[in-house]
């Protein structure tokens, strides 16, 4: 399945600073159709029927989220566009907002109409402050055109925190608190921002909405696999000739993406950022979908010259630094893993280290409060599965080096 531009249809086609270039290409026709020809319930039905799932990584059915929020018995509801793209190796939302802020506005306007939210926030990470002007300008133009009458969109700036991309931490941050995860349930569609029903969608998820409304659920559902409909925008980086953003049909094989990006002598590919799955070269035919591997669509490529344990060590160092610290399994677990992986990568490991990593992984996955800690051990477990020898060799080397130095333990 080849490259296909659905989400990125207007990127590098329209002028992101000029709404008229978007209006000339069916811009805001989907909103018009939704408002004039469809009830909010019908819009939700359509999105549900399309099978669109969240593109931020967790993959919850978008229409279901909307339906929960729609049915919540509260007058005040909020919509949040998650533009806190902090996942390591992910830059697709940056590219999207840079080149087509208008489709995003239209998607948000439709989401507001469908769910009954009248106030919306775009939570933009501090690292993307250079996009502020462009986004503000886009909101202004759409508003002046009279296309945002029922939705008030505001931009909220993050202040440098990876975990704020996690929905409950993000809501705490908008409320002016530390960006720590919350206990769930309740989930945001029933009690979210200020305990009001809240829909949180990733930038890319919202980008899909206008075309689903215009072309119908059937059209969208015809693309992709059983559980993964539509396309996915991938951010490819690392050891490739052409790093960048690639949109492909769901279910496309990793190999195709590697060929497009010009990857040579691949050793492993990490999919989904710092806590993403590690796919060895022998499995390069793996399809990219929710059923297999996907996450946020970050695809980091490592060639033959790279050391697997070093990669995992650096993943874990990232996660340990970004753990919000609220729950012990994540806060202490990531730190303990960093310590072990650091000594393994330096050739100073112990016999017990592999077992300790596996024990820690179990506890963290079972008992962490949010996604950060729950998925943090994935790269460790994947590499233990596919590259166990590397770990065992490193332990043997460590023991040997120690015996040479005359250290008994």
């Amino acid at each position: 399945m080849p490259e296909k531009r659905v989400v990125l249809k207007h990127c590098e086609v329209i002028d992101p600073r000029d709404l008229s270039t978007y209006l000339d290409r069916e811009g805001f026709k989907a909103l018009e159709k939704a408002q004039k020809e469809m009830t909010p319930e019908k819009v939700i039905e359509e999105v549900k029927a399309s099978g669109l799932k969240g593109r931020g990584g967790a993959g919850f059915l978008c229409g279901r989220k909307w339906e929960f929020a729609r049915k919540a018995q509260e007058h005040e509801k909020f919509l949040i566009c998650n533009a806190d793209e902090g996942e390591m190796g992910t830059f697709k939302d940056r590219y999207i907002m840079q080149h087509d802020p208008f489709t995003l506005m239209e998607g948000m306007a439709i989401a507001g109409y469908a769910t009954g939210a009248r106030k919306a926030y775009i939570y933009l990470r501090a690292e993307y402050r250079f996009l502020l002007d462009l986004l503000r300008n886009a909101i202004q133009q759409v508003r002046e055109e009279g296309l945002l009458e029922s939705l008030d969109i505001q931009i909220r700036e993050g202040a440098g925190s990876y975990v704020c991309g996690e929905e409950s931490a993000l809501m705490n941050s908008i409320e002016g608190r530390r960006g720590e995860a919350r206990y769930r349930p309740p989930y945001p569609p029933s009690k979210g921002l200020w305990q009001k029903p809240t829909i949180i969608n990733n930038v890319e998820t919202l980008m899909n909405i206008p075309q689903i409304i215009l072309n119908g659920a059937q059209w969208f559902g015809d693309m992709g696999t059983e559980e993964s409909k539509g396309t996915k925008v991938f951010s490819v980086s690392g050891d490739v000739e052409k790093p960048g953003v690639y949109e492909m049909m769901m279910g496309s094989h990793l190999k195709e993406l590697m060929d497009l990006a010009g990857a040579k002598r691949v050793k492993v590919v990490q999919i989904g950022g710092a806590s993403g799955n590690i796919v060895p070269e022998t499995m390069i035919d793996t399809p990219l979908s929710y059923e297999t591997v996907l996450g946020s669509g970050a695809v980091t490529v490592f060639d033959n010259g790279r050391d697997v344990i070093d990669i995992v060590y650096r993943d874990m160092a990232f996660l340990a630094e970004e753990s919000c610290g609220k729950c012990a399994p994540c806060r202490e677990g990531t730190e303990a893993m960093v310590e072990i992986l650091a000594r393994l990568s330096k050739g100073e490991g112990y016999q017990e280290d592999i077992g300790a990593l596996e024990d820690l992984a179990k506890v963290m996955m079972l008992s962490s409060l949010c996604g950060l800690g729950q998925v943090a051990p994935i790269p460790v477990l994947d590499t233990l599965k596919y590259f166990r020898e590397d770990y065992e060799n490193r332990v043997s080397q460590s023991l040997f080096l120690r015996s040479v130095r005359g250290i008994t333990r």
């Binding site: 793209e85 902090g86 996942e87 390591m88 190796g89 992910t90 830059f91 939302d93 940056r94 990470r125 501090a126 690292e127 993307y128 402050r129 250079f130 909220r156 700036e157 993050g158 202040a159 440098g160 925190s161 990876y162 941050s173 908008i174 409320e175 002016g176 608190r177 530390r178 960006g179 720590e180 951010s235 490819v236 980086s237 690392g238 050891d239 790093p243 960048g244 953003v245 990490q270 710092a274 980091t300 490592f302 790279r306 990669i311 650096r314 993943d315 990232f318 630094e321 970004e322 919000c324």
Partner: protein, 148 residues
């Protein structure tokens, strides 16, 4: 102290604006001082610890003064793979400071940061709000020269 109180009270006092107030102060003064934190706590009617907790949670808000320009070099894997280490050493040599330090003339602060979403242009760094990608040692001095 008086000035700080004025600034805080001039802004909406609802809890939700706390982070924005701290961010504004960071932009304006280059850091959030102890005095500002206590003034903000008073103005928002929050415990000091609460405001301090928010101020110190986020990496773009600092409680010690930063220089006029802040360099943040990405140290995450995609940039590491593209030799971010060389870029880090080049900046260290150009400025004579290590990560976490500020030049004596207060022109630059230098920090390492996690992924800034510029992996397609790795190695990359932020100087203030500007992204500079595809860095090479020879480009560093050119980039640094443009910030006074």
């Amino acid at each position: 102290m008086e000035k700080n109180e004025q600034h805080v009270s001039a802004t909406a006092r609802e809890r939700e604006s706390l982070l924005a107030v701290l961010e504004d102060e960071q932009m304006k003064s280059g850091f959030v001082s102890k005095e500002f934190i206590s003034a903000a706590a008073e103005s928002f009617g929050l415990p000091l610890s609460e405001v301090y907790g928010v101020a110190t949670f986020y990496s773009f808000i600092t409680t010690k003064p930063l220089g006029r320009n802040v360099i943040r070099i990405c140290k995450s894997l995609p940039c590491f793979l593209k030799n971010a280490g060389v870029i880090i050493r080049t900046v260290e040599n150009e400025l004579g400071i290590k990560p976490g330090e500020t030049t004596p003339d207060k022109r630059f602060s230098f920090e390492l940061t996690n992924c800034i979403g510029a992996c397609d242009k790795a190695p990359a760094m932020l100087v203030n709000d500007d992204v500079h990608g595809d860095l090479t040692p020879s480009r560093i001095s050119e980039v640094l020269r443009s910030y006074v």
